[in-house]
């Protein structure tokens, strides 16, 4: 461990951060002073090399230290960040198998997407701003992943949210795009509200937000204070994880906070690929697996996570079937695939969740970049109704897109097949609070969603690339083409989408084929999940009774059965999609549309959820704000309260004004009377004029007099106020024992 160059961890973050700062500060200058080509070259070279450095460092640390060196945990203490009293939040970084997987995916995919962007954004006037934001995003995402303290993770968590906001609204002159960015930020903030409260709940029990400290407390299982302490009558682990999961639904676009993601497609397409498909939106899954030992202690939360994930997977998939915007289809697909990951995480199949996170990053990034290529070629048109036949002019894009479709649909032997299969098997065979009901539900939802996935993905493919072009002639002859800088990343990603599945070679396939490959990812992540794997009783995570469990594995027959079902379903719906859309919109497709009627309408309009939120949340909020301001603030507080007081004072002023009539003689009289009264008071009652010990002594000799009365003296006291015939006497009573001040 001595030779470990730990400062590398910080540089993984600092490299893209420096790139961002450079382009934010000097990018504008370069774009204005240098010739356009040179300026763009400076900008993207800085940005790309910043990410390349991060990528190189990630791979070298991973390979040299973790793989070759055999070190599984690397901690870098940077500096104490926030501290007060017993609270101590260090800005510390942690590289363990889980964060290693994440940084490899993030920097790897990130690098490819940076390169792709050079082509996609080639003519944008705000080139420097784009790359600065993209670099800033990389830095934030790496902070999120590498943070050892959950609060450091939260910095990245909000940082990626900010970059997402900036990049969705990148073309801010378009009001709708700016609004989409704002919507994303606000919905994420709703999630963050849960996240931070979850942290407080954890903190109150653990007295630290350090992941290791939380793990140490959670390791006690049923005896852990996370379980034995209750907040609002519910174990803290459950409260905290539910709140954290709210944060996950915001960041990872799950029900109920998913509606921002489809709108986020307003951003440049490479951004959608990087942020809204491959990396940022998976942060919620990462968080759950990072805290798997806390979630495992909250069976209720786990069940909710699984159900929300499963329902989201199906719900979003059914919307994806009817959309016409190429990016909207992919967006709903992302929501759906994220749902799978949560389904896995909720069942305790941590490895499956991370596995799918990784494979999804490859094929979905490839799909998005492919769509970007198409959109660029079609003159920034995104409507698949006016596309078709693009394969003839864009063979590489079409090929990589097709491979990715195979992968996401779960066709053997592409990556998605393995990861999705592992999730579905896990959903059926893992123990849960509500087993076996939840197993049937999770598996059922997942399988139906898989059918939808195959259908809408191939629908998208065929409508875009096959058949004949449905757009205008001019676009077809002058625009449709491919650019090398854009297809190189596509090919690499398609390759990864093809082979990544072999990292999770299932046990059963080894038995059947005789090819005994290890489940690399499971072994790699073993230290991360070790704590929760030891839990027993109600907190047990793993295969359940009656779930075809045998010898720590699912039986070969059952596993092959599950594979067969999901593969069969995928192939059937692939072929069906080809039949309906293989050559444009077929008559049969139209017939189905009519047959489904209202159901089709509902899917097309995304089940009117946006409208529902507008009516239930947005409008009441605006109304409440107006009410508070116009009615309460202006009328009640300022009008009746302050205004009333002012009015009273004004009225009193009017009364007193009688004496201020400018008559000097009357003033003089009043003055003399006043002086006389003062003199009489001072000399008539020396206890008031000066604080002589004797006077105080007299007061102190009456211990029964407490409070204010002490200063007033021991005599009975009354105030008389009168105007004309009206007279009021305020009698403060005799100085009797206990009459004033006193005890409660």
């Amino acid at each position: 461990m001595n030779a470990v160059p730990t400062q590398d961890l910080l540089w993984i973050i600092l490299a893209p951060l420096c790139g961002a700062i450079f382009n934010l500060v000097f990018g504008r200058l370069a774009m204005r002073k240098l010739p356009d080509r040179t300026a763009r070259e400076v900008v993207h070279l800085v940005a790309i090399s910043a990410v390349a450095i991060a990528c190189f460092l990630s791979f070298s640390v991973w390979w040299d230290v973790m793989v070759e060196g055999g070190v599984r945990r690397l901690v870098q203490t940077v500096y104490p960040w926030i501290f007060s009293g017993e609270t101590m939040i260090g800005f510390d970084l942690l590289l363990d198998p889980l964060s290693a997987v994440m940084i490899l995916v993030v920097t790897g995919v990130g690098l490819l997407i940076h390169i792709f962007s050079v082509g996609y954004m080639a003519h944008d006037p705000d080139y420097h701003r784009y790359f600065a934001y993209l670099n800033l995003f990389m830095a934030s995402m790496l902070i999120l992943v590498l943070g050892k303290s959950l609060l450091v993770t939260f910095v990245g968590w909000e940082g990626v949210g900010l970059c997402s906001y900036l990049l969705i609204g990148f073309w801010f002159s378009d009001e709708a795009k700016a609004s989409a960015g704002r919507k994303a930020f606000v919905m994420n903030r709703i999630g963050d509200f849960g996240f931070i409260l979850g942290l407080f709940a954890l903190y109150t029990v653990v007295h630290s937000l350090d992941v290791d400290a939380i793990a140490a407390v959670a390791a006690r299982g049923a005896q852990s204070p996370l379980v034995t302490t209750a907040l609002w009558g519910v174990p803290v682990a459950t409260v905290a994880t539910l709140l954290l999961f709210l944060g996950c639904t915001g960041k990872s676009a799950q029900i109920p906070l998913y509606t921002w993601l489809p709108d986020a497609m307003a951003g440049p397409t490479p951004v959608s690929a990087l942020i809204h498909a491959a990396t940022m939106v998976t942060a919620g899954v990462y968080l759950i697996v990072r805290l798997n030992f806390v979630f495992a202690l909250a069976p209720l939360t786990m069940a909710i996570v699984a159900v929300v994930g499963g329902v989201t997977a199906l719900f979003a998939a059914t919307i994806g079937i009817t959309q016409f915007d190429i990016k909207k289809v992919l967006a709903y697909s992302t929501v759906s695939q994220l749902g799978y990951m949560f389904l896995a995480a909720g069942m305790g199949a941590w490895v499956a969740a991370i596995f799918h996170l990784m494979t999804h990053a490859f094929f979905k990034a490839c799909l998005f970049l492919g769509s970007g290529s198409v959109i660029e070629a079609c003159h920034h048109n995104q409507d698949i109704r006016t596309m078709g036949g693009l394969r003839k002019k864009m063979p590489i894009t079409a090929g990589t897109f097709f491979i990715s479709c195979l992968a996401i649909a779960g066709i053997f032997p592409f990556a998605g097949f393995f990861s999705k299969d592992e999730i579905l098997v896990g959903a059926y065979t893992y123990a849960s609070e509500w087993s076996p009901l939840i197993n049937y539900l999770g598996w059922g939802l997942g399988t139906v969603a898989a059918a939808c996935t195959a259908f809408y993905m191939f629908r998208l493919y065929y409508l875009t690339f096959e058949g004949s072009f449905r757009g205008d002639e001019h676009t077809w002859t002058h625009h449709v083409a491919e650019y090398p800088i854009m297809w190189v990343p596509l090919v690499i990603l398609a390759f990864l989408a093809t082979v990544a599945g072999f990292l999770g070679w299932p046990h059963a396939l080894g038995e059947v084929t005789g090819l005994h490959l290890p489940h690399v990812l499971e072994r790699w992540l073993e230290p991360v999940t070790a704590t929760s794997a030891r839990f027993a009783g109600p907190y047990y995570v793993g295969l359940r009774d009656g779930g075809f469990a045998h010898d720590g594995h699912v039986t070969v027959g059952a596993e092959m059965g599950f594979m067969g079902v999901s593969l069969g379903v995928a192939v059937v719906f692939w072929l069906w999609a080809r039949r309906l859309y293989g050559d444009g919109f077929s008559k049969e497709a139209e017939a189905w549309k009519a047959r489904l009627g209202k159901l089709y309408e509902a899917s097309l309009h995304k089940y009117w959820v946006d409208e529902l939120y507008d009516a239930v949340v947005v409008r009441p909020f605006k109304f409440l704000a107006k009410l508070c301001y116009r009615f309460f603030d202006a009328l009640v507080v300022d009008g009746v309260g302050v205004g009333g007081t002012a009015g009273l004072v004004g009225w009193l002023g009017d009364v007193v004004r009688v004496f201020h009539n400018g008559n000097v003689r009357r003033y003089l009289l009043a003055l003399l009377v006043g002086v006389g009264l003062v003199l009489a008071t001072v000399y008539g009652n020396p206890t008031v004029s000066s604080l002589e010990p004797s006077a105080v002594h007299r007061v102190q000799s009456r211990p029964d007099l407490g409070g204010l009365r002490t200063t007033l003296g021991a005599e009975p006291y009354r105030i008389e106020i009168g105007f004309g015939s009206w007279k009021k006497v305020i009698d403060l009573g005799p100085a009797a024992p206990g009459a004033a001040g006193g005890e409660r």
Binding site: G85, K626, V642
Partner: protein, 560 residues
Amino acid sequence: MNHLLSILLVLPVLGALTTALLPRGEDRLAKGVGLFFSGLAFLVSLPLATAFEAGRAGMQFEERHAWIDRFGIGYHVGVDGLSVWLVLLATFLTPLCIWGAWRAIDHRSREFVVSMLLLETGMIGALVALDLVLFFTFWEVMLVPMALIIGIWGSEQRVKAAIKFFLYTMVGSALMLAAIVYLAVVHYQVTKGTLSFDLADLDRVVLPPDVQALCFWAFVASFAIKVPLFPVHTWLPDAHTQAPTPGSVILAGVLLKLGTYGFIRFAMPLFPGAAAEAAQLLAILAIVGIVYGALVAYAQSDVKRLVAYSSVSHMGFVVLGIVGMTTQGLTGATYQSLAHGLTTGALFLCIGVLYERRHTRALDAFGGVAKVMPIFTAVFMIAMLGSAGLPGLVGFVGEFLIMVGTFSGSAHVLNDPPLLVLVAATGVILGAVYLLHMFQRVMFGPITHPENEKLRDLSLREQLVFAPILALIVLMGVYPKPFLETIDPSAQALAAHFTHKRCASVALARSGASRAALADDFAEACTDPMAVIRAVYGDERAPQVSGFGPAPRQEGPRAP
């Protein structure tokens, strides 16, 4: 070195006198002299940061002279971790304000500079005074120049706003003065003949519950108005909207903080028993302020009013941190004060930039500004995000400490703090809602008004005014260590002192005595202060009250 604070108090007055002697009409010269003296004051104040001994809780740079000996009124000044940064904030913002107003203030510049400098003395004085009469004097001194700045250099409704500001704050301070005098008299009695207005002396007095409550609320009346705490906040939007830019910046940046500072320095430690009793109510008012301020901010059509209401929301957090009386809460409250001073100050400067160019504050008058003013966009955005409490910027540190302290440690004064924090944290969402709403309306979208097409981006002077503020907004968010390590010991000491004195107050009430006493008399009874307090308030109630409790055991069938 020991005269540093006194020099700091005299310098602006000297500057004001010099400026007053200048011939009429020499606008630039007057502003130059003002800038020179306030800048000098800032430089002089820098040793407060560099020579301040971190890790020490007590007063530093202390200075004490007899003043009106006959009444025991002394000139006693000093700073500790809870005040030193606020003093620096005042000396930091004043020159920036004068410089920032270089073009905005174009008539009676001489009088303006005099007001600003006197205001600076008033603010610093109130922050460093350790004698209650001295404090009260400075507290009142601040009032006049501020009212003048609003009333003379403000917008259309300036006079009304100035009067509202003046009367509102006067009402509060009148009550406070009565309480101060009362406290001194009681001190005179219990010490059998020592008349003193020194904070350290008066702090030894423990009042019986009823009078303590009266005195506490008298102080609170003054401070709560200044903060401003819901529902006595309505002077603020008017004052802010009508005040000229430098007035708004100083008002938001420093003046409001004096309210919360007053809570920390005076109201809470002097009357801990009453403060503990009132904590729940104050916390609820603070939280209502957080949510309500944010809601109302969203409803505004005037940018400046929007930011003014955001102050109500933000200052609610500060009060929440204070009334929970935890170390983290107090540290966070102090930090959040600084954060709010910087971010809201920057936001008001930004609005000033827009106003200077377009002479309107209506949201509708803008849109698409980002296209023509890219540098300004970056500045405005950082200020906005800092205000929204984005982690990594200054606003987050304080908010986090306040909430984590209240959530986990304030059950000794508050009922169900997790629930309170839950409601308060909605302010995090709402903050994003109204700030992003404002930003989008002003900066994004197409340019709908042709006047906006030719807006100048920030001039060099304006960039230089913003640069140090933005640098601090980022630096204090990323690396708060130098600030926290000076604030934290004082916060710890105050929290401990509060508990001890609260114990004395409880013990006094329990002893049945109706007269005030000295805290030292209860030293023996209060070796374990929390035990005494718990004995009075009931031990068994504690788990439910805090929101936390033992969980029922769960025996599930999940095992394989």
